[in-house]
Symmetry: D2
Subunit: 336 residues, 4 copies
């Protein structure tokens, strides 16, 4: 059950509400976000929803039987639009392409990519300064110094930054430079990280776990929301399967379902999904036609020379063709 | 290695070729289809391909290192177009929608569906008269009597029939009535059935196994081709995964890859894929944008009353909207 | 619902029973096996089981809500013992090792293996004369001629034969030579083959599908049983997963659960399970401790020279050590 | 490549070694643990291993081509034994049962469990004070206060504590109370957490990811080792699969392979594996026969009343029977 509270609910009204919920043996969690106040009630007993809905200080009340509540479509009118600043937003009709390299490598590389994005009217640049690597002996990213020069340049170009945060202790240092915090697949159920990102007023791009269920992804988003941050994008990036002809099974079924179950924007990541350069673009378009609110793609000036394995990375001319096709496909999607 | 032979290769030329292949220790399989004569050579030794290619009676010779050979793009110029008769064809630019119920139930139902297809200019009707069922106590289809009345009506409407064959002994009885033999996911590696369908001059729609790999699907097609039948369509119908929010993981990655690896047409089946009525249409369109040559979809006059579980079945008005959107999406695909 | 009928139920008693079941809207399937007569009732309405149980000609009646009925533990007192003849049996306390090569290759090979089995007091020899192969260009087995010389020798040694049948049309020719028909993983839902094996009075070893569920395996067994053959062994042989460090995920969880859910004997196949020679024996023992009624293992005089890929095949001395350890582990299992 | 260094390697010897590795273009990572000094070299060029092995200050040098190095069997003579203090150890022949509730609930509960463990001569108690939960609205554990009263009692009973740490910031506060830090399946690739646990001189029980590969588990262990901590136990706890008859597919294949590939002790967790109370014990025994060095099992005075879902939890009498059977099975394992 989600109870939307009035912003200025009085103490006495709040006390009466608490009493009413105790009476029906519901445990409650209070949620305050950038945009609203909510009371989440969890319990099993049957009751007349109006007896609570009619209490003072309550804007609205909704039954939500799913394990996820605030991220569900069951209570919110319309879809969520996330404001990234400077007139850039995503969700509820607004579509964004996010592109850039796997890893931030040098100021020169950053400028080259920003130039490419600017020419193609792309508003968000992706890139990693903290890289999750299976092996401890692999390159793990440039860290804050890399983020600093990236930020300086990106700001000059008027382009937003999305980059992965891997642990709670990085949040504070990254905060001034980051426009969207990305949570990687391996951290999709790092609940402490999700809690802390819920306390920050910055958008979060939350990737589905390596073999995460749709339900787990929505509950992971619920962690962020219930800690106070409504600015969440869900990201399908491929699931692990037995098939070895590609990297991951990009699961467009999930995009379709997430768009139905949640009001949050959904981004599709074909680069880490299918993971094979020559197939990335088709999967991106398929993601758009299933209703994604954005595409995040790996682009590098010279994919073969990328720090990280560039097998899924497009070069500029491949990327430019993809951008054009994304726009055409998005246009069709809106007309269907 | 695939050696394309001249149709009229002389005995002596053939003998010389055999000798040359024995000399390099290659085992060979002769393949004669509706359209050509081939010699498949399997071996490991290194040799100069021209020494064999220049022999008499040989049209062309190609190295193919994949486990599948004749179904590969590595030897054939262009894509395969399969003629279904009466000007209907699929593949190499020709696109078909195939629609109809899970099970053939009655002559009345058949007529209703044919009427609906005719109105929407659909050329192929799907339907089952032999149904693979997990439980022996479930309805297993009307069999040949159902096929007979279906055929009579379909012929009157000028609409082609695609239906599942479950075992070798059914082929002969079904042959006069069927335009496309469908091989179901559970029979995807029923090698004896594939062998026998290779000896028939009728198109075959071959579904990927329940958790079949892309490679296994192509090798299953190779069984049919190498027995003499080039008229094969590959069908992606969803794979089994841990996700329970939908029925199967419709794997559009596979569509993209099959189109690249094979010259055969690829059909996408969103009904058995995602398996949830309200999500079927979006997945169908995503299949089209990844390059599928056709869509096969479940449609029933009253899905709720279908013999078989109709949870993934569209009613007529849903289907009509889907057909229109498929055509728009296909048009976009061709322009990209 | 399973109704066990008296062997000599009168026509009038049978008619009364049919009437009673029609009255509660249950559809029925009559089953006659080597050992008994059953009526399977499928329906949804509530009724007092005694009103039917008390009718004339009924031995017993049981509610079974699972999709599988006759193979369930819910109606049968005790476990099933399958008589293989000559005092050899499996299930309900009787344990068997089945060993032999992947493929029958030659009379010499057969004699060598039989000699080895005899020395180790193994009563059942495995081997393939029809081999399911992903590629049409691979060796597909010696067929009936191979089976003939194998049978002649096996009979001389007093050792039973278990071998795979791949299609309905092979059953008749194989029947005189085979002691146990094996249904391979790829045919686990080849329902026509299961139907026909239900009409034969020979034991069937039924393998779980490549990614078959436990429930599907039990329903596949139900096909055989409900066609008249109670002599079924269930076989766990590994499921397909994302893990590539071994061949298949031998699922011993399934052994434990199958032993609980069904009265049928359960055999474990570590060779096709983990599929790596040096790991096969440990997995075999683990299967025994989870309660398996038998182990089926690949053994070859010279594994490196086996026709089929011998990567999972033990040589004689490895196998002998395994047999001893199996017996010790089985002994422990019985004492626990 | 792993180079074992002398403890007292001189600066000049170290400089010469660095030079030699630079010459063959190997990048190096220095590792200092509780027990030794190592240099890990990563590179591709061919070289004569003796030219480096013969340098001053080097104890031994080993080629290790796997992605994991220090945790591999390829360099270490014998298996690792981890000392837990007070004569309790695990690995290299030493076997431990770890038992206790999912969640620490109260001092009373803790005393009850400790009493039960003492009676059964179990040396390690498991229990959670930080619980990873899919939903933010679920109970998340008693935290440090719970750990404090648990520690006080456990110390009195002379029983060791194993409990899950979920984030870097918890390590310091937990350190005085914990004998073994457990890393849960969801944190199996939380690389920052692994790094930090590598800097602590406390044993770590590292669980395989929800669908982690064997290789990823070993590389995760490499993170801990290469940061300085050799005291690592690997834990198989079931992988995610399509099968829904149980909770997770406890993968005993992995136990067998981990024991072969790594010198680290391997623990099997049947409670989170198969996850069904009546099947837990059999899977535990199967784990022992595949060579596990320990079993971790959920036990609770009244499973039905456990805070956390107690579906996989044994009561005391079930647990006592399991302990006895584990000892018998372990004894057999050692005799095989």
């Amino acid at each position: 059950m989600i109870i939307q509270l009035e912003k200025q609910i009085s103490r006495s009204a709040k006390a009466k509400l608490d009493q009413a919920l105790q009476a029906i043996k519901y445990s409650t969690t209070e949620v305050k976000t950038q945009f609203g106040s909510y009371l989440i009630g969890i319990g099993k007993s049957e009751f007349d929803i109006r007896t609570i809905g009619n209490l003072e200080g309550i804007r609205d009340i909704h039954r939500v039987s799913d394990a996820y509540k605030l991220v569900s479509t069951k209570w919110k009118i319309g879809k969520t639009n996330i404001d990234l600043g400077d007139g850039v937003s995503v969700g509820n009709g607004a579509f964004q392409i996010m592109a850039g390299p796997c890893s931030i490598e040098s100021e020169e590389q950053v400028i080259s990519v920003l130039e490419h994005l600017k020419e193609n009217d792309i508003k968000v640049m992706r890139g990693g300064v903290y890289k999750p690597r299976s092996s401890p002996y692999s390159f793990r990213g440039l860290g804050i110094p890399g983020l600093e020069f990236w930020y300086k340049q990106a700001k000059a170009y008027g382009i937003k930054i999305v980059t992965e945060v891997m642990q709670v202790s990085q949040i504070e240092a990254m905060l001034p430079y980051v426009d969207i915090f990305q949570v990687g697949a391996r951290n999709s159920q790092n609940f402490n990280l999700l809690d802390e990102l819920g306390k920050v007023d910055k958008p979060v791009l939350l990737k589905r776990g390596i073999s995460g269920t749709i339900d787990e992804l929505l509950q992971a988003a619920e962690y962020i929301f219930s800690n106070g941050n409504e600015k969440i994008m869900l990201c399908e990036r491929g699931i692990r399967s037995y098939e070895s002809a590609y990297r991951n099974t990009l699961d467009l079924n999930a995009v379709t379902i997430l768009k139905d179950k949640s009001h949050l924007p959904v981004i599709v990541d074909p680069s880490h999904g299918i993971g094979v350069r020559k197939y990335v673009s088709k999967m991106a378009l398929a993601g758009v036609i299933t209703g994604a609110d954005g595409v995040i793609a790996e682009v590098h000036p010279i994919p073969e020379k990328a720090f990280s394995d560039g097998q899924q990375t497009l070069n500029y001319s491949e990327a430019e063709k993809l951008y054009r096709n994304i726009h055409k496909t998005r246009k069709l999607y809106q007309e269907l």
